[in-house]
Symmetry: C2
């Protein structure tokens, strides 16, 4: 028998000896079946998502729609009669897309070719039409190795696609994220006058994907835009098959306004044993301004609201205070998550765990833990309970952007990311296709039930570790 | 430690002692990574499916399109340079939908309400407009308990929906399948003059779902149709909220023609060690006449063709003869599957295993084995290899309709069904929405790679059991 396998067996035995004896498999199985039944046969998640997508729509921080979403969230939570519903004051950045997002290229003397592009979130405007020679880099690393002579005064195009060979699309996204987040700074340091990138997506279509960029103190700010994957491929092929000079033209009239007041929206079921110890669950209420923010992160909003509502419908009386938070401003600043962590710390609350849903409304696969070994063992001891629901992944990994700031004040809290199937997520992420119609009812409902079940199990068994 | 758990540990240890020592984890990991890389970055499955859906389209047995699909399949397989490509002659039933599929109901004196309905596959025509009093049964069991007095001369409506609380939608389908398959006989035995049912689907929409029915020797044949789920709900609610008599009118001019010759399409990589021992993989080439048969079962066709093509691209020299079969007539007769089993038996071939893909082109979950315990242990010993690909289900269960007839002649063959995520399948199954656009490229490609990997592992390690 291989040593690695012996070790695994040992771990399982130790874990089960320590924990699984204390788990009431029969009672919890029955409770979980009830939770899934409610979600699948008389759940509210799907209609709540329809309402958020259709009655409110997209909701970028600082926009009127974001404030509408705050009112929507508060009233929706109040309608479910939780113990408390309230707002937390925060300040958020306010960037607005303009009416102009136009671009085209020309290879040598060929006729011009229009492309679908959009400004990256936070980009400065071009102040009229910006025109220049284009220089292509096939990867961000190639750009970082380039000389100022090559780049100065030009428009930089990074053609790098997401790696389609990765099984988790989030890993593929993570590998390309710096292109969008840091590319404008990289290019500006070499004297470029604008940046265009290939949209971070695995789908081939005409809808460019937005997302935030960063500028750096002391580095010239340059405008930055994303091409649709189809147009990025077209431009890439044109350049590869030609020795001619390529020029690019674009106009963006987006604008950054002063910061604005906004809110996190909060609801609670009060703990009966440990009212001052909190388990937070949540997603983010803001979205990008394209589509309807259905998967990102309307799904997380209705997942976590429904998770708490199911426990309430079953008259479950929690040990800990269970709190759902609709975080504002995850997309371009994370002021909701940062302020939340600060506020609860100042109030002297203890945070024992948090669950975030921000990976879309797809079929549940499991959970990703930013936490300690014994917390992972506890999660794994739930795996038999989750088996009938095909939830099979209990791994160390990332928790989530919104709950991440809790770590500074509560280093021993279990920060848990809900992990649904990732294959379709980057077809919709940050683009015009992220609409209600692209969310499947059952997949969404299974997510809500799965989060509700974990919340119940954590509330019941966290004391074991 | 619980006894059940001790037993599981024991089983794992025994299995691993017996088998896993013989598995070359490192070499197989590398091989599988190459297989997934090919499928995801230079695969043919998605474009092949586009071609089958758009260049051929729907392809019900006996139709001109089905014969076109045979030509398509043969030429496509020939283009991949397998060792042999050939046709098998079979006879298939030939039923054709007519130009008339019209229906409406009236409650008491209210105005008439048109409904979306379609004939069930194999239904007789109404011979003009058929009109009668409607009697509703909420389940098939209620119909079976009814008396002839209640039913005679009426049109029976079974309103029973699929059970949305079941996690596997195939289980929910299985629970309702007899309504469609046997309902016309049940109703006719009580003297009904027609049957209408709620479409077997978990989605609420306006597209009725077809599928085959059976008639019984000696029982009067009556016409049978399915209402869209939306219209079935409407009719149900109308009846529940009214004491008035409900009448129903429908016209169907579908027709059954004499049986026709058709073909299975076959391609092989010849075994180097055991050329006369065969592992078959396949899906079915025919489809219902609505939509494009994209998930059902275009996905299975391109999954299994791609699985063999990947091995060929990697210059893998198989031990057994690996054979892909495009079965004809799964939907309404299974003459392809039945004839195949007969033919290979007559030729004196030995069949050691078969894999069928007929559950759609969704993200892989695992495999369902119709076979023996030691075959399940072998499958489970592959689980570590599949873990990076999130393939986690290795269970006893159903193999598939097409490969099922092999069991009679080869009772010890491992019949394996490919199991993708099931949540969306019955949104598309047997209806107009089963089109190419509803198949996700990555999900399809992962399925092909997963089947290819299992085929490789079976070919390499079947000798162990």
């Amino acid at each position: 028998m291989q040593n690695q396998f012996k070790f695994i067996i040992l771990i399982i035995i130790v874990a089960f000896n320590g924990l699984s004896q204390n788990i009431d498999f029969e009672k919890d199985s029955i409770m979980m079946r009830k939770m899934y039944d409610i979600a699948l046969s008389k759940g509210k998640a799907y209609e709540d998502l329809r309402s958020l997508c259709k009655d409110v729509g997209s909701r970028l921080s600082g926009s009127a729609q974001a404030e509408m979403a705050v009112v929507w969230g508060k009233e929706k939570l109040e309608s479910y009669n939780f113990d408390t519903v309230y707002l937390q004051d925060i300040m958020v950045p306010h960037w607005e897309r303009g009416s102009q997002e136009t671009g085209w290229f020309r290879v040598g003397d060929e006729k011009i070719q229009k492309v679908n592009l959009i400004a990256l979130g936070g980009s400065i405007a071009t102040n009229g039409l910006l025109h220049g020679e284009l220089i292509m880099f096939e990867t961000r690393d190639d750009l970082l190795k380039a000389s100022r002579e090559e780049v100065e005064g030009k428009i930089v195009f990074i053609s790098q696609p997401m790696d389609e060979k990765m099984i988790s699309t989030f890993n593929a996204y993570g590998g390309c994220y710096p292109i969008r987040g840091l590319g404008a700074v990289d290019a500006a340091k070499l004297g470029a006058k604008a940046l265009v990138i290939r949209s971070l997506s695995l789908a081939e279509h005409d809808h460019p994907h937005t997302g935030s960029l960063r500028y750096e103190e002391g580095v010239n700010k340059i405008p930055a835009a994303a091409l649709s994957t189809n147009d990025a491929t077209l431009l890439y092929n044109k350049i590869k098959n030609s020795d001619e000079k390529v020029t690019f033209s674009l106009e963006l009239n987006c604008k950054t306004h002063p910061d604005k007041p906004s809110h996190n929206v909060v609801a609670e079921l009060r703990g009966t044993k440990y009212p001052n110890k909190v388990i937070t669950i949540g997603g983010h209420l803001d979205s990008w301004d394209l589509g309807e923010g259905a998967h990102d992160d309307g799904a997380g909003i209705v997942h976590t609201m429904e998770a708490l509502r199911i426990l309430k419908e079953l008259n479950y009386r929690p040990n800990y205070t269970l709190r759902v938070v609709f975080f504002m401003n995850e997309e371009n600043g994370n002021m909701g998550g940062k302020t939340y962590a600060q506020l609860v710390h100042e109030k002297g609350e203890e945070h024992v765990a948090a669950i975030e849903s921000d990976r879309g409304g797809f079929t549940p696969r499991g959970f990703s833990l930013d936490g300690m070994d014994e917390q992972l063992v506890l999660l794994e001891s739930f795996s038999r309970l989750f088996e009938p629901y095909e939830v099979h992944k209990f791994v160390k990994g990332y928790g989530g952007v919104d709950i991440g700031p809790l770590k500074e004040f509560y280093p021993s809290a279990a920060l848990i990311g809900f992990v649904p199937d990732s294959q379709r997520y980057f077809d919709f992420h940050h683009n015009a296709n992220d609409v209600f119609e692209n969310v499947n009812k059952r997949e969404l409902e299974l997510g809500a039930a799965t989060i509700s079940a974990l919340l119940y199990l954590l509330d019941k068994y966290l004391y074991l570790i």
